[in-house]
Structures are given as C-alpha cells and as structure tokens.
C-alpha cells in the first residue's frame, strides 16, 4: 500500500530542484507521443534543440517569443504572490496593445525621443486600469477575481475587434480588421541586425529585476507577501489589505499591458485581433513553472519559448504536429506541481 504523509518541514532541496527536474521530466515524457507519432525520437530532439538555439536566427526567435512571456509571467507571478488570481493577463495585454496603437499612430504630438516610452507607458496604464477594477471589486465586495478577470478577457477581445473594424481600422488596410501601423519613431529599436528581436526583451529583463527587488527588498513587497500568505494576520498587524490588493492588481495588469504594447511597438507594428496566441494564459504557466519567483520567470519563459520555437521547427522537418509543444509545456507544469507536492509530502511504500 502507498501511504502519503506530510513532512514535518518542507524538503528545501526538492522544492529548489523541482522546476529543473520537471522540465527534464517533461522533455523525457514527450518521447512517448513522439514515438507514437512515428518520429525518430533522437532526431526530433536534436531538431528541436537546433530550432530553438542552433543558430543566431533561432536564438533571436526564441528570445522574441520569450519577451511577452516574461512580462505576462511576471504579471501572474506578482499577483499570485498576493493570492490575487489574475487570469486576465490576455485581456490586459490586448488593452495595452490597443492603447499603444492609439498613442503610437500619431494621435499625440510629442517629441520624437519620447514617443516609444509613451507608447509603452500607455500600454502599462491601460493594462493596470483593466486589472485594478477586478482587484478593487475583490477587496471591497469580495467578488471572485478569477471569474471577473477570466470573463474580462472575452469582453476586451470583442472590444478590440470592434475598434479594429471601426474607429481604429486602417483606412489603407483593404478592409482587413487591423489598425494603422504605429509611426516609425514609436517603434522599439531592434536588438540585432536583420532579426526580429527587439528592445521589449530589455524591458522584460528590467521588469523582472525590479519585481525581484520589489518583492524581496521593499516594504511594499513585504506587505504583498504578507497579504498573500496570511491576510488575517496582515490585517491584524495593520497592513491595509484592500489597498495592497488594488496596488498589486494595477502592477500586475501594467506588466501584462507592457507585453501587449511591446508586441505592437517592437514586433508587429500594428494591431490585429490575433496578436497574441495566448501569451496571457501562458503567463500563468510560466509563473507556476517559476515558482512565482520573478527571476525564475525569466528562465521559465525562455524554456517555454524554446519549446514552442523548437517544436515548430521540428514539426516542419519531421511532419509531427507542433501541438507537441503544448503537450511538453503542460507536462512540465504537471511535473512542477507534483514536485511541489513531493516537497511537502513523503510517499512511502508500506
């Protein structure tokens, strides 16, 4: 019989190693569907590695893909640390992208050097506002933020589609539901010559470092952690729990909004209703893989991006469906959750 017993103290070693082991385990487990699909497993892994990091182009693509994931991952990680379950990063990303387009297509007269920062700031502000609402409702009235943020995703996406077929539609776009492109001065600079990698990556890395400092070194971060770990004790100790919730919500939404603004200003140049293939939802996975640590988010985002970019390239070469990438990421998440479980419980064969 298998018996499961709580450990007196969580196993720190297991908890630390869990993300890395989970990633490896997920990759190993992916061999099963790969061989079922009739592929040469070793060749498939080699192709995946090559596709993700085998050339400067591959690296650039992986980093480009990781850029929005870092920001949405941070959005989820920061909110989850306060036990504010923001599932709405997808919507906040779109609202950020919409604000970026509104500001970046020349509607605002500003000095040229200020245009790109303004575009990013507009995205952050829009995303932050979109999340401050649900956080306020939760803090004030106890409205479940999982429901509000999740449903807001659909509301916002439909709103964006409406804008793209209405006021914001590109008159030169031949009727396609897409916005005007942002002006060249509002675009984020490219980091590599003739590659898609853009300065949004720098924004993501700086944001990760700032979030790390915020959570571990500041009184605001202290309050966020206290509210997340034990709101009753935090309230009793005089922490304004409601204000912290709204603040964390605004911060989380702003990070997701930055992701959207970065995709518009750094990569696509204009907005369509399919600018994000689920970056917001993937951010939740990234944050969980990272154990809600801001620096871990960078590593987790790189892992998820590499799996997706590598699997795309592998599937083109071998004819295996690229859904394999979703499978690997999902398995990695399950492995991390199992790892967290093993850190808290001991499994015994009796």
């Amino acid at each position: 019989m298998i018996r499961i017993e709580p450990r007196a103290a969580p196993a720190v070693g297991v908890a630390r190693a869990a993300p890395l082991l989970a990633a490896l385990a997920a990759l190993a487990l992916a061999a099963i569907p790969l061989s079922l699909a009739g592929a040469d497993v070793a060749a498939a892994y080699a192709l995946m590695a090559q596709g993700a990091a085998g050339s400067l182009f591959a690296l650039s693509e992986t980093l480009t893909r990781a850029t929005p994931l870092i920001l949405t991952g941070l959005a989820a990680a920061v909110a989850f640390r306060a036990k504010l379950w923001n599932i709405g990063a997808e919507g906040q990303l779109y609202l950020g992208a919409l604000a970026a387009v509104a500001v970046g297509t020349g509607a605002v007269a500003a000095p040229v050097w200020l245009l790109a920062p303004m575009v990013m700031a507009a995205g952050a502000a829009a995303g932050g506002l979109a999340m401050a609402g649900p956080a306020w409702l939760k803090a004030r009235l106890g409205v479940d933020e999982v429901v509000t943020t999740l449903l807001m995703n659909f509301v916002i996406l439909l709103f964006v589609q409406m804008m793209l077929e209405g006021p914001l539609q590109d008159p030169m776009g031949m009727g396609w539901p897409q916005s005007e492109p942002v002006v060249a001065e509002a675009e984020l600079p490219k980091l590599l010559d003739r590659m898609r990698l853009h300065a949004g990556l720098i924004v993501g890395l700086v944001a990760a470092a700032l979030m790390h400092v915020l959570l571990s070194r500041t009184t605001a971060g202290f309050r966020i952690r206290a509210v997340g770990e034990n709101p009753d004790a935090a309230r009793h100790a005089g922490v304004p729990v409601g204000r912290v919730m709204v603040g964390v919500g605004a911060l989380s939404g702003a990070l997701a909004g930055l992701a959207g603004a970065g995709e518009v200003a750094g990569l696509k140049g204009y907005l369509t209703a399919d600018i994000s293939p689920g970056f917001g939802y993937a951010g939740v996975v990234v944050a969980m893989l990272a154990g809600l640590s801001p620096l871990g988010v960078v590593a987790a985002a790189l892992f998820v991006a590499a799996v997706f970019v590598g699997a795309d390239s592998m599937s083109r070469a071998l004819g295996v469906s690229s859904y394999l990438a979703d499978l690997i990421v999902a398995m990695a998440l399950i492995c991390v959750l199992v790892g967290g479980f093993l850190a808290r419980f001991r499994v015994r064969l009796a």
Binding site: R7, A9, R225, E229, A233, A234, H236, G238
Partner: protein, 523 residues
C-alpha cells in the same frame, strides 16, 4: 470500578513517530466497561495523538488497538481506518467541534449515519429513537436549530449524541471542559457518570487536576509520549499527579502583587457592536482599563469577547458609543492607528491572526511597524538591521526555534506566542490587549507569558486580559469583569470573589446581582 468488570478496550504498545520525534512511545492501557478514565498530561504529551490512533485517524508505527465486540470478545482494529473504529463502537468528540453550521442539530446527528442514497430515509423513526436516547441519557439539546445558533455546551451535547447515535460503547472526549463554564462542566460530568453506570466506557483528556480527581475512576498520566503512571482517582492527590505530569515540581505560579492603577488607558463608553452573528455582538458596554492594572474578562467562549477584542485592537468600529485611548477619543479604527497609539495586541488565534507562518520570525517581529526608521529607509527594508534586532529580541525573550530566518510556522505554539509577545513588548506599549494569551501553552510557557504580562503592568502598561480560563483571570487580574451574551458586568477584585457566583454571572444566571454591580463598571 470493580476490577472484575469486563475489558472494553486494550491498547498494546502503541507507538507513533513524526519524523524524528516520538509523539507516543510504547503506551499500553486497558479500559473496563463502564469505567471513566482520565488521560492527563501537558500539551504535547501525546494525549491527542494516542486517541487519534485509537480512533483510526493515525496508523500506529507499532502496537495494536483491541476493542471488545458486543459479546465481549477483544478484536483487533485495523489501523488507520476511522470507519472501522466507528463500526467497532468507538466515538470521539473533538476539542474543536465538527458540526456543519448550516444544518440543524438533528441533521448533524444523522449526517454520515444515514445512507447517502435511499428511497425512504426513515426520519420519523430516527427522530423517535433519538428522543428516546435523549430521555435515557439526559442529554438535552435543541434539535431543530441550525448548529451555528447553538451555544458551546449545546454543540458539545449534539456531538456526544452523534457518537452515541452510532452505538458508541467507548466515548472519547478531547478536553471537553475547555470551552465550558464551571457549572456546565459539572453537569457534563454528571451526565457522563450516569451513562457510564449504564455501561458506557469514557476516556476524557484533560490537563485540569481538580476535574480529573473529582470525576475519573482512574487517571493515566502521559509525559513526553510515555505513560508514566496510572492511578486510581481515590488514591491520588493533586501534588503527586502534577509531579508525575511534569516530571518535577511545578514551577511556582507567577504571583502578581497589587497593581497601581493610573490614568485611563482604554475607555469604552456605551460602545455597541451590531453583528449578524449573536456571538460577535456587543451590547452597549462601558469599561475602563487604567495604566498599571490588569482587567480580566471572564466568560464562556462566544459571549462577545471577539467583538470586545476587535474594538480594543482597532479591527472594528463601534456602531454606537465611543472608544477612548489614553484620554483621546478614537476617530480612526485601524490596526495601524492603534499600534501607533501604543496598543500592543495579542490575538486570540495566534496561528491565524498572530503570525504569517510562511514568513520568517524576523519578518514577523517587524510586520507591525514596517515604516519605522529602524526597519526601513525610503521604502527599502534594512535587512541587516532587521536580522540583528531579531537575533537580539529572540534571545532576550527566550523564543526558541529554528532561528530568526526560518519560517515562523516551524516554531511550536508556545514559542510563536512568545514571539508575538516579544513583538508587543518591544514596541513599549501603554496598553496591552491579551486575548487568550496562554491558551494551549504548557505550564512553563504559560508561566513565562503571564510573568511578562505582570512585568509590563508593573512597568505602567494597562492590560485587558480576555480569557476563558477562569483560574488565569483570577490569578492575574487586579479587577475582574464577566461577560455573558455581549454584556460586561463588573465583578470586583479577585480576592473578594466567590467562584460560584462568578460562574453564575458567566452563564447569565445572576443577572440581578450583575446589573446592580454593573453600575460600577461604567464609572
């Protein structure tokens, strides 16, 4: 109990380890039919763990549990299966009652005992049988009220009925009197004795010597997980039992000299709290706590202490009346404002409200004053200063555990309480709200906490002590008020108090006298 009575239960060499720690070490015990056995020991002695093995909550690492079946034949209980224990006739009433709040007493008793899917539930027959059971045992409890509206004693009787309803022949009660007023406890033991005469075997866990001596047939003493002695109650005395329990002479109880009441620290003026739940309501209450005195609030759990504590710690505002701190009327009812005014708060539930378990001991020490210059500068935590201060404070207050950087939840309950007390005292409070400050602590830790409170009083702090432990209130207080159904009644100085009358005031049976004395409370 006659030694010839048949054996109802035999525990043989039970051992349970949690990691390195041995919670119960090779305990063997026999219980006769119709016997009342007291299980005596300090907190952490292994009493509850032992009973949880009997009830199948834990599987023992060694040893076995044998229960007599209806024919009196001893049969082994399979380890770790509460269902098997129930079927064998073992019923358990936990310290923290496990009733579904939204169901009536009747539904709670039937819960789990009736089939999940059945065409006819036979409730009428069940009702008749239950009423017969109540008449036979004398356990009276309202059956049609939702459990949420029941008093503590009533809940407990519902729990006992639930156990008997499942044909329990062995009834285990974990600290049954912890939440009862003295008379309620007496009445409970009378009922249990009556049922024991009819053949029920009873084990009750306690750490109160008088009730153990007064009501048990035999007393089993546990210390550090080992059974250190079994005594017939008729031949035992308090001194020898307490020496057995602690392995040494008990530490002297902290002796408080008289306080020197000074200026008012806390004044409630006809303060009233309305709440949907009766147990959290406060009738218009007036109370003054002066600096340099300890005012003890005695009352049965759920009499409105929570509302009083919330008012005094800044977590709730009165719906009418006013609260004054140090002579100034309070306008902002926030915890932070009260801390800033010099109020130290020891919350009732130290794990839920006292500490953030996942954060370190050092962080928990500074959580109330994050913006103080010694804690942060410009919004950034001064981590070195915090760690240094934590090391010093933990040492000064004798808080033991895995160290200032380890999560607070890894500390024992007693040390968590000392940590909270350290946080309160280091801030130099002028008023201390101590809500159940020693609940669940062993004698040594409780004495340390009490001594610190007395020292703080002697240093000029006013102390509002809320406790369900009447002995503690009488030992520490300069002045006692009782609380019943949200009302405060001035009782007087402990030396002049008669326990019987105090008990009646706590259950509301002495309202006339209480009202008369209540005029003094407002002064």
């Amino acid at each position: 109990m006659a030694p010839s009575a048949p054996v109802a239960l035999r525990l043989q060499g039970l051992t349970k380890r949690f990691g390195e720690a041995v919670a119960v070490d090779d305990v063997s015990l026999t219980l006769a039919r119709g016997e009342m056995l007291a299980l005596l020991g300090e907190n952490g002695a292994g009493k509850t763990t032992l009973m949880n093995m009997l009830f199948g909550r834990y599987a023992p690492d060694a040893g076995r549990v044998r229960v007599a079946d209806c024919e009196g034949v001893l049969r082994d209980l399979p380890p770790g299966q509460p269902q098997a224990a129930l079927a064998a006739g073992v019923g358990m009433v936990h310290q923290h009652f496990a009733l579904a709040e939204n169901l009536t007493g009747f539904e709670n008793i039937l819960l789990g005992a009736e089939p999940l899917f059945a065409l006819r539930r036979g409730r009428r027959a069940a009702r008749a049988r239950l009423e017969a059971l109540m008449a036979r045992t004398g356990l009276a409890a309202p059956l049609d009220e939702p459990a949420a509206r029941l008093g503590v004693g009533e809940r407990q009787r519902i729990e006992i009925l639930k156990a008997l309803w499942c044909d329990a022949r062995i009834l285990v009660l974990d600290e049954p009197t912890a939440v009862l007023a003295p008379q309620e406890a007496e009445a409970l033991f009378m009922l249990l004795r009556g049922m024991a005469r009819d053949g029920l075997s009873v084990i009750f866990i306690s750490h109160k010597l008088p009730e153990v001596l007064g009501h048990a047939d035999r007393i089993a003493v546990l210390r550090g997980g080992r059974l250190v002695g079994v005594r017939a109650a008729a031949e035992a005395d308090a001194a020898s039992l307490s020496a057995l329990m602690m392995g040494a002479e008990p530490p002297p109880a902290p002796k408080a000299g008289p306080g020197r009441p000074g200026a008012p620290a806390l004044r409630l003026v006809a303060a009233r709290v309305d709440h949907a739940e009766p147990r959290r309501r406060l009738a218009p209450c007036s109370l003054t706590v002066r600096r340099g005195e300890i005012v003890g609030v005695a009352g049965v759990s759920g009499s409105g202490q929570a509302a009083l504590a919330a008012l005094a710690s800044g977590l709730a505002r009165p719906d009418a009346g006013s609260v004054e701190l140090f002579g100034a009327q309070v306008a902002r009812f926030t915890a932070a404002a009260f801390v800033a005014a010099g109020v130290g708060r020891i919350p009732e539930d130290r794990h839920r409200e006292g500490v953030v378990g996942a954060m370190s001991a050092a962080e928990n020490l500074v959580i109330e004053r994050l913006d103080a210059p010694e804690v942060s500068r410009g919004g950034f935590l001064r981590r070195g200063a915090i760690a240094a201060a934590a090391a010093r404070v933990l040492k000064a207050h004798d808080v033991r555990g895995p160290g200032p950087a380890a999560p607070a939840r890894l500390m024992s309950g007693g040390n968590i309480q000392k940590l909270i007390l350290a946080r309160v005292l280091e801030a130099g409070p002028r008023l201390i709200l101590a809500n159940q400050p020693t609940r669940g602590l062993d004698v040594g830790a409780a004495a340390a906490v009490s001594a610190r409170l007395i020292a703080a009083r002697d240093g000029g702090a006013g102390v509002l002590l809320i406790s369900e432990d009447l002995d503690e209130v009488l030992a520490l207080s300069d002045r006692v008020v009782t609380m019943h159904a949200g009302r405060l009644t001035e009782a007087g100085a402990p030396a002049e108090l008669d326990r019987g009358r105090l008990g009646r005031m706590m259950t509301g049976d002495d309202m006339g006298a209480g009202m008369a004395a209540g005029a003094g409370a407002a002064a």
